[in-house]
Each structure stands twice: as C-alpha cells, then as structure tokens.
Symmetry: C2
Subunit: 303 residues, 2 copies
C-alpha cells in the first residue's frame, strides 16, 4: 500500500516503515505533504494542516498517542478514519516514571549534583516496597506503570476519567472528582494525564496538600500539575521530591526555581523516547491496516 | 533477654531494639563494649574485636549481611553461634540497582549534569523491556533483583558460587568460572558479589569486553569490578554506561576519572540505606531468638 509519511516524526519511524515490504513509502519534504496527498489515501503524521484533507484521504495514522491536534468532526464528516499510536509509548514512559521516582527515593538526583562538585556525601535513602502509589490517568501508559508497581510490592490506586467497570492493575480507582482524596491516600503520585481543558491544573494546591510528605512524578503534560503550587509544596508543604519530565513552558525557562531545587529531578521531555518507537508504531499501523483492508477490526480507531 | 548493642550501627537499629518489649538493651560506649560483654550472652554488632569473646558469649547477631569480619573458627571452637543479617538489605539494594540502571538508560545522570548548568538537552533514551540482565551473585539480594527484573519483562541469567540445584528467578545460572560467557550473553550486568579473595577483579577486562555495548551496575563491593578495566571499557570498549555505588577506594578519590565521566552515575555507598533497616534486623533477630531459646530453628545461622 502507498503510505505518505509526514517528515516530522520520532527517530526510528522512517527506518521501520521503509523496511516494511508491504508499504510503498512516500516521504515528502515539509512543504510538499499536501501535494503528496493528492491521490493518496493513507497519511502517517504527528502534525495536521487543513490542506492534508484531500478527496482521496481515507485514513490518518497518528504518530502520537494524543490526537487533540486533529479536527475530529471534520475527519468523521469526510469519511476519514483516525487511529492513534496508543500503546507505542507505554514501556518507555513506565520505565521513565520509575527512573524519576527511584532517582528521588534513592538519592540519585542529589548525588549527581554532588558528583559535579566531586563531593562524596552519603544521605539517607528510602524504600518503595509497601508504599501506596497513585496513578493519575489509568490509560494504556498508566496501566503499565500500575502493573510494574504491583509486581514490585507497591499498593496501587488511581484516577481514571471513567472508572466504571475498571478491570486493571490498581486495587482501587476513582473518578477525577476524587483526585484530592486519592492523593491523600498516596505516598507517591504519578501523573500521566493527557492535556485537555478539564485536566489543566488537576494536580493543584489541594491535591499536593493532600499528598503531603510524598513524592510527585509528572510524565504526562506540564499544565496538569500547577507549578506554582508545586514549588510551594516543596518549600513549605513538606513534599519530599518531584520528578518532572514535562513543564508548563518548554524548554523550562532559566528563571524557573525548579532548576536549582535539590529535591527536584528534571528530564527534558524525553519519557517517550525509545529506539523501539518505530517498530512499535509499525506494529500498530499493521494491526490497523487489517481494519483498513477489511480483514479485521481497527486496533486503535479514534473516529 | 539481655542484648548488648555495639554503638556503631545503621540508623534505626537502636530505635527498633529499644522498642522491643522482650529485649533488655545495653548500649555501651565504643570503648566499653568488652566490659558490657562480661556476663552477657548476646551481642548485636557490625564490628569485631577479640575482647568481645567473653566466657559468657553465646550468640553474635551480625548487623551486616557479610560476616568476613568475624573469626569463624574461633567462634565455633568457643561454642558461639554467629547469625548474619541476610535479607535485611534485599529490597533497598534491589531498588538502588534499578535506580542506577534506569538513571543510565533513561538519561537521568546526564540530564542532572545538564540541570546544574540549566541546560535543556533532549537525548535519546533506552528501554529495558526484552533485554538480558545478568546478576553476578545470585544470593538473597541478587534474587530480589532477578525477581524484579523478571516481573518487568527482562530475561534474567546469572552467576552463583554453587549453581547446582538452583531454583530461583533466573532462567539460567552458571558458576563463577563462566562469568565471561554470562557477560557475553547480557545487555546489563549487575554485580552484587561480596568481597572475598576469589571475587576480587571477577568483573575485569575479559568480562567487560564480553559485555561490550552494555551497561554495568555495581552494588556489591568495589574491588570485584576492575576500575582500570572499567574506565578503559567506557572510553575505548563501547561500554554504554556504569552505575556505581561502591569503589576500590572509598570515598572515591578526587583524582578518579569516574567523577567527570558523562556515562557514569555515582552514589556514595548508599545502596543498603533504608529507614526500615532497624525493623527488619529486629525481625531477623527475633527469628534467630527462637533458635537461641530452643523454640525453633535458627534463621540465618552461619556457624
């Protein structure tokens, strides 16, 4: 099949799709995507522009798990199927969440600040075993975090937009309206919520006060955690540490007090990075190709 | 029972033993331990001095998992039972090993070096899922690392002094004479071997060459990994990173090139630290007390 690949995509994607024998890959330059779509039915892309919606377009495979950049209604009206990259990020983001968490509890962050000054300063470290970890956002990635935490002897609870009928790895799940209550029961809060108008500031002053002397990890979207409230919780609220991959403004401005905070570990929005991204996206694409070609169900259909 | 506690011990030990209702705790000053042992049968200690061996001594509970500091033959001859603290370190050292490993694969170490300069520099990161992890030293701690790695989807192999009849979490185990072969099959080598004459330099030039483009973690003892060979492997052998909690000389000398190496993560011998150390040592002590009082078997008897 002929597939147009938008030129902006994570490393490994083009290699994986080029190597797929059933795919005739078209790789236009940034300003030639619309032209390449003339007569083409399938587009693999992270970005969206109105000119991509040619009469021949039938299927958009998103390169990202979130799909808020796409005009859902308009695609539906035009008879275009949209599929997400759900599942492609789960293993690496789960590992990244634990990397940030363990860097706080085992003192890697503060040790590395010491290391740059060649200072040998043993400090008390903590244990995760037996602690309660709350996953805010029990989607595909959140479940992978919950699964790994359970296997390591943590008690897992969480928040999910639609908790009814939940059958995942968390012992207890509540809706977003109970986020403060869930944070109160947790030693560790891992935030992996997508950015929507209703999730902005979801983990704010009240949730952080409820968490108290715990640890906060954010591998979702920056705006979901209120940064001003976070800094206040670190300085005055007893919060023991924060591991952050995402920020309200990225790159994190030089003026942010987070850079210098000894109990903060920072990575530059790399939680989703993986050399296996391409192979997994191709897997998702192939599953969806069955739906496109009428051989089976779509695997990650959004609309 | 009357128990003499040597004054040098990890944080939390004295509190836990003081709170135990069945224990009458004696806490001598550093130079008064021998005097306190006059007429006492039970000593809880990390350190050993010949003067501790009074005629009344019947049982030494070690505060450490390793017991090479004790005169085994002499204790046996005197009819003194020695019990180790085996199991007390397993959860925190396992978490620490993963903290070091994930700090390398998810780029926390290098990101924290950037953070001290307020630099936002996304770099490729790696995944553990599906990789082969070799545990050199499948004892109590090594098994805990193997268990957690298996639960996270890694393939686990390892080395054990006596591999015959092995029934643990590793898929395949070999004796120390096959350490190079085991390293050849591994993407990740986690070293958790105690220091004995036969383990010094066990992970040397050949083992590191066999590991190749992998990651090395050492949470055992410094001398087990040949540091000169390690630095050469990092600079010229393609080794992707090293996470080190222990060193040939501690504190690590300011002249060591390890401090400045961008692919090295260092912690100052803190893998065994845990606020739960005291409660777990008390648990081990109580299990052994059953043996001492003839109510059941000794739990961690060495001699």
């Amino acid at each position: 099949v002929r597939v147009v690949l938008h030129p902006r995509h994570p490393r490994g994607v083009a290699d994986a799709f080029r190597a797929a024998p059933e795919i005739e890959l078209v790789e236009p330059a940034p300003d030639e995507v619309a032209a390449a779509m003339d007569g083409s039915a399938i587009l693999v892309t992270h970005a969206w522009e109105p000119s991509f919606l040619t009469p021949s377009l039938r299927w958009v495979q998103s390169v990202s798990a979130g799909v808020d950049q796409f005009p859902l209604e308009q695609l539906t009206t035009a008879g275009v199927t949209l599929t997400s990259a759900r599942g492609v990020h789960a293993p690496q983001v789960a590992e990244h969440a634990f990397a940030l968490l363990l860097s706080l509890t085992r003192g890697i962050g503060v040790a590395m600040r010491d290391v740059t000054r060649k200072e040998w300063r043993p400090r008390m470290a903590e244990e995760l075993t037996g602690r309660t970890l709350a996953v805010i956002g029990l989607g595909t990635i959140g479940e992978e975090i919950a699964r790994r935490a359970s296997a390591w002897g943590l008690d897992v609870i969480g928040v999910k937009a639609n908790p009814a009928g939940y059958a995942g790895h968390a012992r207890m799940v509540a809706g977003p309206e109970r986020v403060v209550d869930i944070c109160r029961q947790a030693d560790i809060v891992v935030c992996v919520v997508p950015a929507t108008p209703s999730t902005m500031g979801l983990v704010g002053k009240d949730a952080l006060a409820a968490l108290g002397a715990g640890w906060l990890i954010n591998v979702g979207r920056g705006g979901v955690v209120d940064e001003e409230a976070l800094i206040d919780a670190l300085d005055n609220g007893g919060l023991r540490g924060a591991g952050l991959d995402v920020f309200a403004t990225e790159p994190l401005p030089a003026t942010s007090p987070l850079w210098d905070h000894p109990r903060v570990v920072i990575t530059p929005h790399t939680a989703g990075f993986s050399p296996r991204y391409g192979e997994r996206l191709l897997e998702v694409f192939r599953d969806n190709l069955d739906g496109y070609q009428g051989r089976g169900p779509w695997s990650t259909r959004v609309r």
